[in-house]
Each structure stands twice: as C-alpha cells, then as structure tokens.
C-alpha cells in the first residue's frame, strides 16, 4: 500500500512527467493559456494515461512476453494509445462540444504525446505489477494536469504584465517552464525511485 502511495507521489510530483522528464511539452505550451482548457486537457490526458497503462500492461505481459516479442512494445503501445485517443475524442465530441472546440488540434495530438508513450515505456522499464501500473498512470496524469494548471494560472496572470516585446508568447512561456522545472527539482530528494 505504501508502495502505491509512493509511486503516485513520485509520478505526480517528484518525478513529474512534464517538469522532470520534459515529456509532453507540446500540449504543456499549447493548451496552457486558460485554466479551464488546462483542466479539460489534463483530465483527458489523465484518462488516456490510466487506460493506456492498464491496456499496455495487459498486452505486454499476456501477449508480448508470452510470445517472446518484447521488441514490438513500441508498435503495440502506439496502436493502443492511438485507438484510445480516438475513443476519447469521439466521447468528448459527443458529450462536451465546447471542450471539443476549445481543445482543437491538441486533442488528436494526445496520440503523439510522448508523455503517454513515455509512461508506458517507464512502466515496462521499472517492472511495475498491474496495480502499480494503474497508480503510475493515474499519478502521471495528475502530475501532467498539475503542471498544466500551474502554467495556465501563471499565464493568466501574465496577460496583465508588461513583458518585453521579443519575449512575448512562446519565449516567456518557455522561460517560465524552465523556472517551474527548477522549482520541481526542489522535491527531488523526497522520494528515491
């Protein structure tokens, strides 16, 4: 039990997938203009991450390992993620058209979001069992959402700030991302993975 809590905390805070491993920076920069959108994107990604962790774990252990095909993990994981994203996209379009329009191109881009592929590969690399994988997926999703919301909060405040002209837009955002990553380094000693 303690192990699971530690995995969750490690995935969401000390080893935050965005701010420590620098995976999934594209949506981190792209969908962090408003907190509302950030929450929507974060939840969608969390859902995909958790389900992807479950399905890829099952596939890895019951198909790839059994038939001695672990070298096919990249291909099979990408298939899983792409299909899941398609399902999530249809789901959001059906039940929340405003969110669908707000997320725009970034929703299909979850497919190629390296954070999710990274998550599944870490899971294999660290030899997590089933429940650990589920918690790891949830934790990474929570960490991704957290990073997105923090960034969106800062950027909303930034709207009212006097930013030097050359740094407006992506420039200042990347600088802030760097500083955020630095602050998250402060957590690094808390849990050893």
């Amino acid at each position: 039990m303690v192990n699971l809590v530690l995995i969750f905390l490690a995935a969401s805070i000390t080893h935050n997938i965005v701010l420590t491993y620098f995976l999934g920076v594209c949506p981190f920069i792209g969908v962090s203009k408003k907190i509302e959108q950030a929450v929507g994107m974060g939840l969608a990604t969390t859902f995909v991450m958790t389900v992807a962790a479950i399905v890829t774990w099952l596939i890895y252990h019951f198909i790839l390992i059994r038939f001695g095909l672990p070298f096919l993990q990249y291909v099979s994981f990408i298939i899983v993620i792409a299909s899941l994203v398609q399902i999530v996209e249809m789901f959001i379009r059906k039940f929340s058209p405003p969110l669908y329009r707000a997320l725009g191109i970034y929703l299909p881009l979850i497919t190629t979001n390296c954070a999710i592929l990274g998550l599944t590969l870490f899971m294999v690399l660290r030899d997590y069992d089933f429940f650990e994988s589920v918690v790891f997926g949830l934790g990474s999703g929570a960490g991704f959402t957290l990073a997105l919301i923090i960034m969106a909060g800062i950027r909303e405040e930034l709207e009212c700030c006097d930013i030097p002209k050359p740094l407006e837009g992506a420039g200042i955002t990347l600088i802030i991302a760097g500083i955020l990553a630095l602050t998250f380094m402060g957590f690094s000693g808390l849990i050893s993975n």
Binding site: I59, G68, V75, S76, I79, I87, M90, R93
Partner: protein, 267 residues
C-alpha cells in the same frame, strides 16, 4: 526465427483488428447527427461570433436557424447580404433588418471638457474611471481613452479629439462598445431616418452644476420638451428621447437650433 516473424505479424494484426473493431463499435454508438443544413448556414454567416443576434456564437445561431426558431434577419454583422443568403438556403422570404447603431451620449471633446487634474495612470477608460473619475470634472462624460474603440470588432469607432465617434455605416449594433464603456455612455438605438437626432449628454447633475463642468452639457431647461410634445422629456436633470417616435417629429432643425447648450445633435 521464421516462427518469430509469423507470430509477430499475427499478433500485431490481431491487435490492430481488435482495436479497429472497438473503434468501429464506439463510432457507431457515439455518432453525432450533424445537420448538413447547419454547416451550410454557418458557412454563410460571418463567423465573427459577435453575439449581436442574441446567441453566443454563429454556430448556435445557425442551429436555431436550421430549426426555424429565429428569423434570418438577426445577423447584424453580415447585414442584408447574409440575410439574403440565409433566406435563400432556408427558402423563406427575407425581411429587411432594421438599421440600428450605437450612439455616444456625450458631446464634449478634449477642448471642451474641463480638467481637474492630470491623469498619468493606465490609459484605459475603465482604469481612469476607477481612479476618482480620471482627469475631467464631469463624472458622466467620455474619458476618451478608447475602450469602446478597442472593443469594436469592426473598427467602427474612432476617438476624434478625445471623444468617441461611432460610424453608423460600419456599426452593426452588436453592443460590445456599450458594455465596454465604464460610464455607460453608449446605447444602441433604431436609426429611423436620416434626420436622426439625439441628446449628446449623460450628465445627471442639476443644470447649474452641469454648466460649471461642461459647455455642451444638458442643463435640463426643458425647451426641447415643449417643442416636441412628448418625444423629448426631461427626467432626472437630463433630456431623454423616445427614439422610436422620432419619425413623427417635423421640427427637427428647430429643436437642434433652440437647444441652449447645443447638446442635441444630428447623427
């Protein structure tokens, strides 16, 4: 070795097939019936999402149009052209949209306004208004920092010598400027004729006080009320107009001429 290749191919094909079937099922279950009519209508609308039609965006207006719940002449931004196109698609006859435009109820430009201080803060009306009314004495008048100009999606407002001027030809009466003005100087009115006149003042102070801060403010003398029999009436130290009845006014020029502070003006 041959075996590995075969198993790889089979397992990946199996996975692909499995997810294809799942996706196909989900796609059927979650299918949205998007009306092609809505898409067509949305293509005709200007997609400015200004909200003048009374709906949040063009998409919702298009949906309502497709259900025939609203008349096709509500799009003010698109004007007659869009109305005609919508009527063509829906196969109904078009009614002419009434011409409406925003009106600034202040006539004092920077040379006429009396200043009480120098304001060096943020150059927006809302900031100046919050800072004890900016630099002018009149608590009701135009501040001239152009919040309305920036709010206008069509570029129909200019600040001429510190006073907002709305170009009625460009104005689509979306009312964005009316919400942007911290002093509530802008109203949207029906422009009934070329002889449209309005009261270019919003000052609610007594006549004597108004005179102290502005040479073109309404002093509530009541002359216009006497001349027009009910179309103009003085209430709360300000002359008000029933703009819908303006068409019935025959002595427009006389009303404009007799106003002692010249705050009744042509559009």
């Amino acid at each position: 070795m041959d075996n590995t290749i075969l198993i790889s191919i089979l397992s990946m094909a199996g996975l692909g097939l499995f997810f294809a079937v799942v996706l196909a099922i989900v796609n059927q279950k979650l299918k949205i019936k998007e009306d092609p009519l809505v898409e067509k209508l949305e293509g005709v609308l200007p997609r400015l999402n200004c909200g003048a039609c009374g709906f949040a965006n063009c998409h919702i207006y298009a949906e309502k149009l497709a259900k025939k719940e609203v008349s096709p002449n509500q799009c003010r931004a698109g004007g007659e052209e869009v109305t005609n196109k919508i009527s063509e698609i829906l196969g109904v006859s078009a009614e002419r949209p009434e011409k409406k435009a925003g009106i600034v109820h202040c006539g004092a430009d920077a040379s006429k306004r009396k200043k009480k201080a120098v304001y060096t803060g943020i150059k927006t009306c809302i900031a100046a208004h919050a800072t004890s009314g900016g630099e002018i004495f009149c608590e009701y008048g135009c501040l001239g920092y152009g919040d309305c100009m920036r709010a206008c999606p069509f570029g129909g407002i200019e600040i001429v010598n510190g006073l907002a001027k709305i170009n009625p030809d460009i104005c689509t009466a979306c009312g964005k400027c009316a919400t942007a003005c911290p002093r509530g100087l802008i109203t949207v009115e029906k422009i009934t004729s070329k002889d449209f006149i309005y009261v270019a003042c919003s000052n609610l102070d007594k006549g004597a006080d108004t005179r102290k801060v502005c040479p073109v403010g309404c002093i509530a003398c009541g002359i216009c009320q006497k001349l027009t029999e009910g179309i103009f009436h003085v209430e709360g130290n300000l002359s008000r107009v029933d703009y819908e009845k303006l068409t019935g006014l025959s002595n427009t020029d006389e009303v404009v001429k007799k106003c002692p502070t010249k705050c009744i003006v042509h559009i």
